[in-house]
Assembly symmetry: C2
Homo-oligomer: 306 residues x 2
């Protein structure tokens, strides 16, 4: 069974969650869940795994492994427009692994760096030769005035923006060194409505997820994309994955506006496309128009882990 | 490096956490962390791993595997006197594993059973033949009037109580079928002060943890322990582990009192011992006096995973 099938089943099973549990505002299926505490505070919660040989090369510097383990979850918090507050980490450590203490030390350091100190965790030991694997749970806070930047918030007429370039993340090492786009998410959450997703499985597939969640078409123009010089083609750039940039769908600017609708560092790039309504009989998806004017289904690009 | 050494390093590194991050009320080292949200709500958070071949036999029924994956974390919430509210689960699934969908379905079911529905998670795939492993994060709520039942809350003169019997958990299958002692934890949290720990590594070692956290001596009397008929001896019963009962240190009752100091189902068993102050030069630990009157250091019993 592929990851996408498994996830679809999980989301279907969770459809009634918000109705059955009133404090669950957003359940499985977005970058993170949103819950409400007794006094009405809203928290954003996510968990991610990082597996040796799958998400990083075994020869990778330990500090960068720890960095990525924390940063992936922080990026999910950014994609909801929230602020990291607390973290928890687990390690499944192969017997004989000599660096466990340094690894946890480095994870604790990076968690503090992003203001989500590790308040708990768990250690277990696996057989010799088995891959090291970690999980990171991060809990973020939403400002009382914030509007979480849900995948389902894109509307026809919105413009599409990126926080940085896409493609070539493995070749450049960016997949280990990325900066979660907390400032951009936070600024977007101050708008009355914005949609965001962090790009982990490739712009094509992740844009399609926003389209499905919002029941719209996302139209991306390849010629407008900020493509890494390390990507071989626009197609590779949309499929490589692990960009950890945010794709944002933001309400259109007034006709005379030149600057992006939110002011954040680094400056948003775009618009790289727009959102339109479904035609009768059409299914939600993302499309990418290549520099020659041909349109491609974005959903067929990108990673589906199996 | 042994688990206990690793954990000691982690706790030492985390010593300044509550001072550096004001919303961290209890950091690593108790059954769960306690944090404060912006409006002052208190949450209790824990994460645990469950690894095939380590925490359960590969032939174990899938539903019981899922049950244990959730119940272990719920038990940590119980040991803090909190109420489960939200859950997240991850799975590291060996390639070719056919039951991933059923596994997540069963985890979702048990999470709802204990009122901490799965609001998020993550799936990754491991190589064929590698052990299945899961993590469960559970977030609990503390009532505004509750006093979390910290390991550090035991005081000289307290009586020691158990929520059920110890020993023989693997032989009986109790380690798969235990009921997290939420009611007992909740009742204890209504007292002005109570200490609790959930027994995962054996009564001996876990009692010593309470002693160290509280800087006292816990004196347990073997003859008063409710020992499973499946345990070969009091010594085995204190070392087997995975009882998932709570050990509670509760203020002494008035001299004429017959009943336990809190009324909960199942009825507390005890007192099985008492808490005393350190003598000059003495280090905190737990002791177990055997039926012949000899006293043993409890810390040397029980599990230290390596």
């Amino acid at each position: 069974m592929r990851e996408s099938d498994l996830l679809r089943h999980i989301y279907t099973r969770s459809d009634d969650l918000a109705a059955a549990f009133g404090d669950v505002l957003v359940g499985p299926g977005d970058d993170a869940a949103v819950v409400r505490t007794s006094s009405g505070d809203r928290l954003v919660i996510t968990v991610d795994q990082l597996v040796e040989g799958r998400h990083y090369d075994p020869a990778t510097d330990l500090d960068l492994v720890a960095r990525k383990a924390i940063a992936r979850s922080v990026s999910d918090i950014a994609a909801m427009g929230a602020i990291p507050a607390f973290g928890l980490a687990t390690g499944l450590i192969p017997r004989g692994y000599a660096d466990a203490d340094d690894l946890f030390d480095a994870m604790a350091k990076w968690a503090r760096h992003w203001n989500c100190p590790l308040i708990g965790g768990d250690i277990a030991f696996a057989g010799e030769g088995q891959p090291l694997s970690m999980t990171t749970t991060v809990i973020g806070k939403l400002d009382p005035a914030a509007n979480p930047t849900l995948r389902s918030n894109a509307r026809p007429g919105d413009e599409l923006w990126l926080t940085g370039q896409v493609g070539g993340s493995f070749a450049s090492g960016w997949h280990l060194r990325f900066d979660p786009r907390l400032a951009a998410g936070l600024e977007a959450s101050k708008l009355p409505r914005a949609a965001a997703i962090d790009l982990s499985d490739g712009l094509g597939r992740d844009a399609a997820r926003v389209a499905v969640a919002s029941n719209v078409i996302l139209e991306i123009e390849a010629a407008k994309l900020p493509i890494s010089h390390r990507a071989k083609s626009w197609r590779d750039a949309c499929a490589d994955g692990e960009d950890y940039e945010l794709l944002l769908a933001l309400p259109p600017r007034p006709p005379e506006a030149k600057a992006p609708p939110i002011n954040t560092a680094p400056t948003l790039i775009g618009p790289v496309g727009q959102v339109r309504a479904l035609h009768p009989g059409e299914s939600p998806t993302a499309t990418i128009t290549d520099p020659h004017g041909s349109t491609h289904d974005a959903q067929s690009l990108g990673w589906d882990h199996e």
